[in-house]
C-alpha cells in the first residue's frame, strides 16, 4: 500500500511538472527559444493567489482565476518587451535575456513580497481514505491530477482542431510559409506565451498547495525540473511534455522513498542523461534534420 501511495504522490508531483513543461515545450515549438523565466512566472502566480486569498479574502477559485489572468498578461508583456526585439538575434542572446528576465522577476518579487517565506494555504482541503483507511489521497492530489488531464485534453483539442491551434503548428514548422498564408506570426507567438504563462499560474497554485512554502525562488527548481521533463519527453511535443513530467515526478518520489532523499535529484538527472544518450530527441521527440 505504501508503494501505491508513493506512486500517487509521484503522479501528482509529475502532473505539476507536466503542466509547467507544457509551457516550455509550446514556447520552444513556436518561438524556438528556451524561456528560462518560465519557472518564475509560476512563483508570481502563486504569490498572486496567496495575496488574493490572504489579503483580499477572495475564495480560492477566484484567486486562481486572478492568478491566471495576471500571469497571462505578464507572459505577453515579457515576450513583447524582452524577446520580440530579439527575434532576429542569435539564440545565445535570447537565452541570456531569458535568464535576465528570470532574475528580474525573482528580485521584483523580493522587493514586493520580501524574503520571508509565506505559508500558502491549499486551494482544496480534505482527503479521501481508501482500503479501510490504509491509503489516503488528499483533495489537492486529486485536483492536481484532474487539472493535468483536463489541460492535456484541452490543449490537444486546441492545437489539433482549432484554426488558431493549426496556425500555431504551421508557424512552428515554417514561419515564412505561415506568413505567406496570412498568419500573423507575432500574434501566434503572443498567444503561445499567454497560454504557457496561464498554465504556469495554475502550476504555481497546485505546487504551493502541495508544498506550502512560498518564496521568491520557489519557481526556479520546479522550473528547471519541468524543463528537464520537456527535454526528457521530447521538446516541442505536447504529449512528450506530459509523459516526461509524470515520469520525472514518479522517479523523483521513488528515489526519495526507496533510495535516498539527498540523492533523488541526482538520480532524476542521471535518468535524463541515460535517456538522451539512447534517444537524443527525447522519448516522443521527432527527429528533425537541419535544413540546408
Amino acid at each position: 500500500m505504501t508503494f501505491l501511495s508513493y506512486l500517487i504522490s509521484g503522479i501528482s508531483l509529475g502532473s505539476v511538472y507536466a503542466i509547467i513543461a507544457l509551457g516550455y515545450t509550446m514556447v520552444y515549438g513556436i518561438a524556438k527559444m528556451l524561456n528560462f523565466a518560465h519557472g518564475d512566472v509560476i512563483m508570481v502566480g502563486a504569490y498572486i493567489s496567496f495575496c488574493a486569498t490572504s489579503y483580499l479574502g477572495l475564495s480560492p477559485l477566484v484567486s486562481v482565476v486572478l492568478a491566471i489572468l495576471v500571469c497571462t498578461v505578464l507572459g505577453i508583456v515579457i515576450e513583447r518587451l524582452a524577446y520580440k526585439p530579439l527575434r532576429q538575434a542569435p539564440a545565445l542572446a535570447v537565452l541570456i535575456t531569458a535568464i535576465g528576465v528570470s532574475y528580474f522577476l525573482q528580485n521584483a518579487a523580493l522587493l514586493i513580497w520580501k524574503s520571508d517565506p509565506k505559508t500558502f494555504s491549499a486551494v482544496a482541503g480534505g482527503s479521501i481514505k481508501l482500503f479501510g483507511g490504509e491509503l489516503t489521497i488528499s483533495a489537492v492530489t486529486i485536483v492536481t491530477v484532474v487539472s493535468c488531464i483536463v489541460i492535456m485534453v484541452g490543449l490537444t483539442l486546441f492545437t489539433g482542431h482549432t484554426k488558431m491551434g493549426t496556425a500555431m503548428r504551421a508557424v512552428s514548422e515554417d514561419k515564412g510559409a505561415a506568413q505567406l498564408m496570412g498568419i500573423n506570426v507575432n500574434t501566434t507567438i503572443s498567444v503561445t506565451f499567454a497560454i504557457g504563462s496561464g498554465l504556469a499560474a495554475i502550476a504555481g497554485v497546485l505546487l504551493c498547495s502541495a508544498y506550502p512554502t512560498l518564496m521568491p525562488t520557489t519557481g526556479s527548481m520546479p522550473g528547471i525540473k519541468a524543463f528537464t521533463a520537456a527535454v526528457f519527453g521530447g521538446i516541442g511535443s505536447i504529449p512528450g511534455a506530459m509523459l516526461g513530467g509524470i515520469l520525472l515526478g514518479v522517479i523523483e518520489i521513488f528515489s526519495k522513498a526507496y533510495i535516498s532523499t539527498q540523492l533523488s535529484d541526482a538520480i532524476v538527472f542521471a535518468v535524463l542523461i541515460v535517456v538522451l544518450l539512447v534517444k537524443p530527441d527525447g522519448l516522443l521527440g521527432k527527429h528533425v534534420s537541419e535544413k540546408v
Binding site: 510559409a177 498564408m181 496570412g182 498568419i183
Partner: protein
C-alpha cells in the same frame, strides 16, 4: 490595366546589393515570366513583392495600392498569393489542414468549403490524400498541394517560384498545364523559372534578370527566338 507595378526596387542582404532598380509590370490576366540564372535575384524579387523581405527603396503597387511596406501577413488579404520555392508545405500537417491554412484569411465557411471543392477538382490526387501528412507526399504532389494551398486564398494574382524544381518531366508538364488552367480562370500569374523554355512557352511576356538587374524584356514568343537568350538560357 497593370495589376502589379514594381518600380525601381532595391534590396540588400547586408552589404550585398541583391536587386538593382528592378522595375516591371504584370497586367490583369497575363502570365508573366521572370527568368534568369541561379542567384540572379528572381526569388528575392518575389520575396520582396510578397513582403517577406523589406525593400531599401522603390515601390510595389497592387492594383494601384502601395503595398511596399505592408506586413507580409496582410498582403494575402489584398488578393496576392505566393507559392514559395521548394514548396514549403507544412509537413507535419495533413493535406486537408494545409489547404485550410491557405484559406486562413477567409472566414466564410461556405466559401471555404466551395473553394476546397474547386481545388480538389483541379487536383484530384489531393482529395485522395486529404488525411495524409503533407510530408509523406511525393515532390510533384507537394507542388500541387502548395499551389492548391495558395489558391485557397482566392487570389487575383499568384506568384509562383520555381514550380518545376526537382520534378520529373511528366510532373513538370502537368504542373504547367495547371498553371495555364488557373490563368484561364482569371488569375494573373507571375512565374519565376529556371526552366526558361517551359516558362516562355506559356507566358505572354517575360523579363530577364541578370545579377540583380532586368536586362531584357518583351513578348515571350519574341524572347524565345532571341539569339542571346537562346544561347544563355535555352541551351540552343
Amino acid at each position: 490595366m497593370a495589376m502589379l507595378t514594381v518600380k525601381d526596387l532595391n534590396v540588400y542582404y547586408g552589404m550585398i546589393h541583391a536587386l538593382k532598380d528592378v522595375s516591371f509590370e504584370v497586367n490583369q490576366g497575363e502570365i508573366v515570366a521572370l527568368i534568369g540564372a541561379n542567384g540572379a535575384g528572381k526569388t528575392t524579387t518575389l520575396h520582396t513583392v510578397s513582403g517577406l523581405l523589406a525593400a531599401k527603396s522603390g515601390s510595389v503597387e497592387l492594383e494601384g495600392k502601395n503595398i511596399t511596406h505592408m506586413p507580409g501577413h496582410q498582403i494575402v488579404r489584398q488578393g496576392m498569393a505566393h507559392v514559395p520555392e521548394g514548396r514549403r508545405v507544412f509537413a507535419g500537417l495533413t493535406v486537408y489542414e494545409n489547404l485550410k491554412m491557405g484559406a486562413y484569411t477567409r472566414s466564410d465557411k461556405q466559401e471555404i468549403a466551395d473553394e476546397l471543392e474547386r481545388v480538389y477538382s483541379s487536383f484530384p490526387r489531393l482529395k485522395e490524400r486529404s488525411r495524409q501528412l503533407a510530408g509523406t507526399l511525393s515532390g510533384g504532389e507537394q507542388q500541387m498541394l502548395a499551389m492548391g494551398r495558395a489558391l485557397m486564398a482566392h487570389p487575383r494574382i499568384l506568384l509562383m517560384d520555381e514550380p518545376s524544381m526537382g520534378l520529373s518531366p511528366l510532373f513538370v508538364g502537368e504542373i504547367f498545364k495547371i498553371i495555364e488552367q488557373v490563368n484561364k480562370q482569371g488569375v494573373t500569374i507571375l512565374l519565376v523559372e529556371q526552366n526558361a523554355k517551359k516558362a516562355l512557352s506559356i507566358a505572354n511576356r517575360a523579363y530577364v534578370l541578370e545579377t540583380g538587374r532586368i536586362v531584357k524584356s518583351g513578348d515571350a514568343k519574341v524572347l524565345m527566338n532571341d539569339e542571346d537568350i537562346k544561347k544563355a538560357y535555352l541551351g540552343e
